[in-house]
Structures are given as C-alpha cells and as structure tokens.
C-alpha cells in the first residue's frame, strides 16, 4: 500500500496540494486553524498543551471552502497548472511521433501525461464527437490522500484540489494546439471527472 504513492511522486503531490491549501488558506483568516499554513510548531504545541491539553481541540470543519472555491483562487491555481502543463508537454512530446488528430492528442493527455503526473492513466475517455471530451479518473491520486473506499470525510474540501490539474490539462492541450476550457467535478470519494470543451473558431 505504501509503495503506490511513496517516493518522489509523493513530494510532487504534497507540493501541489500544499499549494492549494496555501492559496485557499490565505484567503480565509477565520479558518486559520486548519490547513497547512498554520501548522503548529513545537513552540505552539507547548502553548497549546499548556492551555488546553492535547485532546481538547474540535475536529476542524471547513464549511466555507466550497463557497470560495470558484471565486478568486480557482483561476490562480488553474493558471499555475496551465504553465506547468504547457512546459511539461514540450518535454514529453520531444520524441513523440506526429499526432494524427484531435482525438490522438486527447489520448496522449489521458495516457502519457497522466501516467507521468499520477502514475496511472485516465480510466475512460468519452467524446460526443463535437468537441466535448470527458475524462474519468476513478482513483484520482491527489484525492487518494484524503479518502478511501467508503470514507468521504474530506469530500467537501476536495474541490480545492482540482483547479491545478484542470490547468495542467488546458496547458498541455494548448501546447498541442488545442484551445479549450476545462472544468472538473469530484463525483464520488476518489473519482474525478474532467470535461474538456474544445473552442471552435
């Protein structure tokens, strides 16, 4: 179980997630008790231990997260992802044969790029043949840190972690010559669905 997400990809996920928490956390001073920004140092721990004893704290509940998600932070994170996706694709496609068509490029994102990022492929790719593509990842790695089968405790906050990958997809496709918008939904505990709508000119 440990090996699936250990090692370097762990650091990457940590960085990406930390990013989300850092940006979202900054916006909301009231939820300062949660999130990585205010992780307790040893000194804090001393103070907390002195003040309350280690067990007294309530579980952190972040109810306002979903309300904020779509506002200012999403585009920021998305644009970070966009830059990463764009530059990443330059590297990954260096030795790749020419792409046949749009679908071929989509497939590349679902297989090669995803495998590189998350060590697994997108599970299903569907299209209506009119420029809308739906990627489904049944076990989306970044979410796997929070939830497991049958446990959806952190589901309300999971929206924070999809802006960045949305941006990566958009950046990657843009580097492949496809302009599009990307949105995502966390369907169930660990299942994430990305919808790519190609802009037709």
């Amino acid at each position: 179980m440990a090996d699936a997400i250990s090692g370097p990809s762990y650091l990457y996920n940590l960085l990406a997630n930390e990013l989300s928490v850092a940006l979202y956390g900054d916006l909301d001073k009231t939820s300062e008790n949660m999130g990585a920004l205010t992780m307790m140092t040893i000194k804090d721990r001393k103070a907390a231990a002195a003040a309350a004893g280690p067990s007294s704290s309530e579980a952190p509940v972040d109810t306002s997260a979903s309300a904020r998600d779509s506002d200012t932070v999403f585009p920021k994170l998305e644009s970070i992802g966009y830059q990463v996706g764009q530059r990443l694709i330059e590297r990954l496609t260096k030795e790749h044969a020419r792409f046949k068509d749009e679908l071929d490029r989509m497939k590349f994102v679902c297989t090669d790029l995803w495998k590189y990022l998350y060590d697994k492929q997108i599970d299903t790719l569907r299209t209506n043949n009119q420029g809308t593509y739906v990627f489904t990842d049944n076990l989306f790695r970044p979410l796997a840190f929070f939830s497991a089968e049958g446990v959806d405790q952190y589901y309300p906050q999971s929206g924070r972690f999809i802006a960045f990958p949305c941006g990566i997809i958009r950046g990657a496709l843009s580097a492949l010559g496809i302009r599009c918008t990307v949105s995502a939904k966390v369907l169930s505990v660990t299942c994430c669905v990305f919808e790519v709508v190609v802009e037709r000119t």
Binding site: N13, A36, M40, S57, F146, V151
Partner: protein
Amino acid sequence: MATDEEFKLMYGLIASIKSFVARLSPMELKEGFQSFGTDKYRLHFYESPTSIKFLMTSDLAAVSLKDLLMQIYLIYTETVCRNVLVPARGRMIDSQMFITRLETLVQQSPHFASKS
C-alpha cells in the same frame, strides 16, 4: 475521568518515567523506556524520532508491541501527514482513514486474540 484529564496525566507519567529511566541508567540509553507491567495490564510506549508518542495498553501476554506501534506510526504518516487537510500536530486525529486502518492493523495483530 475526563479524557482531557487522562491525557494530561498520561503525558506527565510518560515524561516522568522517561526522565527517571534515563537518570537511572549507567549508560546512554538507546531505546529508553518501552513498557511497564502491572498484574493486570501492560503499557507499551514508542516514540518516533520526531517525538510523536504512541501508547497502548495490553494484556500481560503481549510482551513487546514495539513493532506494532511502529507500524501505527507508518499508518500515521500515510494517512495524516500526507493529507494536507489534517493539521499535522496537536489535535485529535479524526481521519477516518487512519481509524479504519488502525483498527484493521490491531485486529490482525497476533497479540489481538491472545487471552492471558
């Protein structure tokens, strides 16, 4: 006894035993305090290098639970440290993943079923 109170007492107990044990020892201790026994139960203690303390009481048949406690530490890193939504320290762990895996681990342990 309130849980709060119990935690505080336990903390004090462990801190005292640790320092006392270290002072008694003629040589530098490597592991330090690991467990104590009474006629009814045994209390096991493991402290990670990052000074997270793991405690477990058991029946008398379980002589050493150090390995089990170390495995719990591993679960802790995987479910709590890796989850940026859980504050890393100083709070009650409410992660369901942690709790589920902890229960499975402990129940599968050979020490679990043994009756003294």
